[in-house]
Amino acid sequence: MINFYSIQFVTFLVIALACYYTISKKKQWICLLVASAVFYYYTGVTNFAFLLVTGFTTWIGAKQLSLESQRIAELRNDKTIDKEEKKVKKEVILKKRRTIMWGVLLVNFGVLACLKYLEPILKGLGVIDDKNVLGLLLPLGISFYTFQSVGYLLDIYFEKYEAEHNFAKYMLFVSYFPQMIQGPINRYDALGTQFKEQHVWKDEAATKALYRIGYGLMKKYAIANILAVAIAKTFDTPATDFSGVIVVFAILLYSAQQYADFSGGIDMVLGVSELFGIKMAENFRQPYFSTSLADFWRRWHISLGKWMRDYVFYPFALTKPMKKFGKWANQKLGKHLGRVLPAAIGNLVVFFIVGIWHGAEWHYVVWGLYNGMVIALSDILTPVYEKMIKLCHINKNAAWYHVFQIIRTFIVVNIGWYFDRITNVVVACYSLKKSIFKFNPGAFSQEYAIIFDGVKEYAGLMAIIGCLIVLFVSILEENKISVRDRLYKSPLLIRWGVYTFVIVLILFSCTRVGETGGFMYANF
């Protein structure tokens, strides 16, 4: 894979941009398609085959679905046949549509499941003993482009918009290179249409795009990569039994690393895309300022959350059994439970899938279910909270209450990170127990030295500076102040000072750690 932080990527980007803005405006999408093909080809030829299978099956499937929809419309307007016959014919077409939809889903999720889960499952069953024995390597971004393509297919199935007739144009939507590393999961009606527009170079937009790329690089190298070393020392060395205080500290570092890595990567890809005048879906909105776990999931990995809501949660909630259950609960358990219980079950299903999506390991399942359960319980118990707030005369609009909600949510999220980061559920539970009952704050300085042993000089300082910058920017963004706009409008010397500071910080941080691999979400 071409690393964004490499001369080769810079060269590739400059060439792609030069071609994009100098060729005929009507052919810009072709330039992007070629660039995407080159970028993806570099990850391996076989990966290309998987991408083509997904692209072709969803494109042809959607096209067929569109044709069948057209047939239903024609049938509706056909005055030559009677109502009964229309009903029978419509039923046949609807059945055909369902078959197509399920067939395409089966192929795509089947490929994804085979590549992602077959080996761990066989290993779990004891059929194979080495994880890579089948040699099934995940093609770059397969989860992301599969979800994106399936989203398109389902949108056509639900007749949200017209199917794309040009396969090449559709392939650009599937393979657009900035999104291939770790998403976001884009929607065709938002992204696909932009490819058809004509884009001209705009200095301001390009400068702001570069700000975003720089900010993403800073998050990735000054925070995520540096913290990764200490976190790995804490959780990947089972022989060392660290005190609760260092476990809690490492989990806090992990929350910073996870955010900096994922959102930093997203900032980079969104910035790169903005250079081409294409705006992709936002994936983060200051998640650590959330006031509830449900709010957190509306701010963290937003594109996956929306995908799950539109293609799993709602269709599941609208199934006949769930509707029936809702009615039953409404009658027997009251209005509130009748409304929230089906949603709670839906949330559990969604978060179970989110857990599995992260990997075929039990700790991910537990992490997913933990999130689902907290959200479900929070919904179910809403009347109880309301009563308590009333009894305690708490002003829900007070600033302190807002801060309390943020801290409470942060703690709840961090409890979840135990099961995300620690790969063994039993060890995760034990670590959680240690964090409460064996906190031992006196051991901090000694154990801190152990986990940061091997981290080069000044690396810790770089991470602290990086975190403070992210906190500062997040506070401004949360207050609806666009940092990019402010920086762009500031005097030249200040701008150049900021650029130089950030560039030096990135460069310096990068050499403080060795190669730490790519992005955490690149293997999904």
Partner: protein, 366 residues
């Protein structure tokens, strides 16, 4: 006019280049080891023998002695922390530019035990590109940043910012020292060619250390305490690649474990033989001669503690004596004699140094 508009847009790039140059000027040492080595190398012509390896090579081989005694034209391409890939790179460059007949890969077991230090690699390559200068230097830069190990990775960018990896420290005093030295053009004076009168600095060889071993801490500071017992798999693979590379080019390669004081060999008694066997087996496979000068018999060269600065580096006098004896050894080798007879086996060596071994065991148990 359009071009001016683009220059205006990209003017910050000029600022960035200026900042990079300023930081490099302040932070890069005025005369780093790699810079000196390459600078001296490009002053040489018609070389036919080179020494490659890390600090044990840089401090252990005096080319002038070989030139005089073997009638060759030798150069020492050793640099501190030089990992196997850089040694191979040095050989590759020398083979391209000279008619090299003999390559001595000077090592200690430690050379194959630690992970390569990325900064050392970048400094080595950057110094080479800079010493070449001009278009050749630019081509050398391009060939490095597009080499398979670097392409599409972070180092392809970092390479262009030498102050990130070639530094002593980031203290203001050091920056002032570097700047002063550079401004006074000391860099030029420190070039090897200008130092003919100094014995400690010549043709890549650099050793002006006259210290001897500190006996107070020989059992605390030795190869046993410093390095892993067994070889690093990645380094071994690189080593094999180096052997294959030389075999392919039909170069007379000599792999040479530089002498270590007896206490250092003894400290590793538990795995020394295994290390030895492993290296011998690999070298045999490629038809390369491998000699361990820690185990040499006194009739060729007597390893004496007074010749060492520490557990693995020779001092200046030690290097001189060692090189003279090595020349005699190479003459014998050239005459077709079986050189293996001049080395003890590990078992024999430990038997001879039984007292030391017991002392070490006692220390270990204590």
């Amino acid at each position: 006019m359009r071009i001016f508009s683009w220059i205006k847009k990209l003017r910050y790039l000029l600022v960035l280049v200026a900042v990079n140059m300023l930081l490099s000027f302040l932070i890069e040492p005025a005369s780093g080891a790699s810079g000196r080595m390459w600078s001296g190398y490009y002053d040489e012509q018609n070389l036919d023998m080179i020494f490659v390896g890390n600090s044990v090579c840089q401090q252990g081989f005096i080319p002038d002695i070989f030139n005089e005694k073997l009638s060759v034209k030798a150069y020492n391409m050793g640099t501190p922390s030089q990992a196997v890939p850089q040694s191979m790179r040095a050989i590759e460059v020398a083979l391209e530019e000279h008619d090299i007949k003999t390559v001595v890969y000077a090592m200690g077991f430690s050379s194959l035990k630690y992970e390569p230090i990325p900064e050392a690699e970048l400094t080595f390559e950057s110094a080479r590109a800079r010493q070449k200068g001009g278009i050749q230097g630019a081509l050398a830069t391009l060939s490095y940043i597009y080499s398979p190990d670097v392409v599409a990775k972070e180092n392809s960018v970092n390479f262009l910012f030498p102050w990130l990896y070639n530094y002593e420290d980031y203290f203001t005093s050091t920056m002032l020292k570097n700047a002063t030295e550079k401004l006074c053009k000391w860099e030029k004076r420190l070039r090897l060619g200008d130092y003919d009168e100094t014995e400690g600095l010549k043709k890549g060889f650099r050793n002006d250390d006259t210290r001897v071993i500190n006996y107070d801490n020989i059992w605390e500071d030795n190869s046993y305490s410093r390095y892993e017992p067994y070889f690093n798999a990645e380094m071994l693979a690189d080593f094999e690649e180096l052997l294959a590379f030389c075999k392919e080019r039909d170069v007379d390669l000599i792999v040479l474990n530089t002498p270590h004081p007896a206490f250092d060999v003894v400290s590793c008694y538990e795995y020394y033989e295994k290390n030895q066997e492993q290296l011998t087996e690999i070298c045999d496979r490629y038809g390369v001669d491998y000699y361990d000068f820690s185990l040499i018999k006194p009739e060729i060269y007597e390893v004496q503690d007074k010749n060492f600065v520490d557990y693995e580096h020779l001092n200046r006098a030690g290097a001189k004596e060692f090189c003279e004896k090595l020349c005699d050894f190479l003459k014998l080798r050239a005459s077709g004699e079986d050189m293996s007879q001049y080395f003890y086996s590990v078992e024999e060596f430990l038997e001879i140094h039984e007292d030391l071994l017991n002392e070490w065991k006692q220390y270990e148990n204590f």
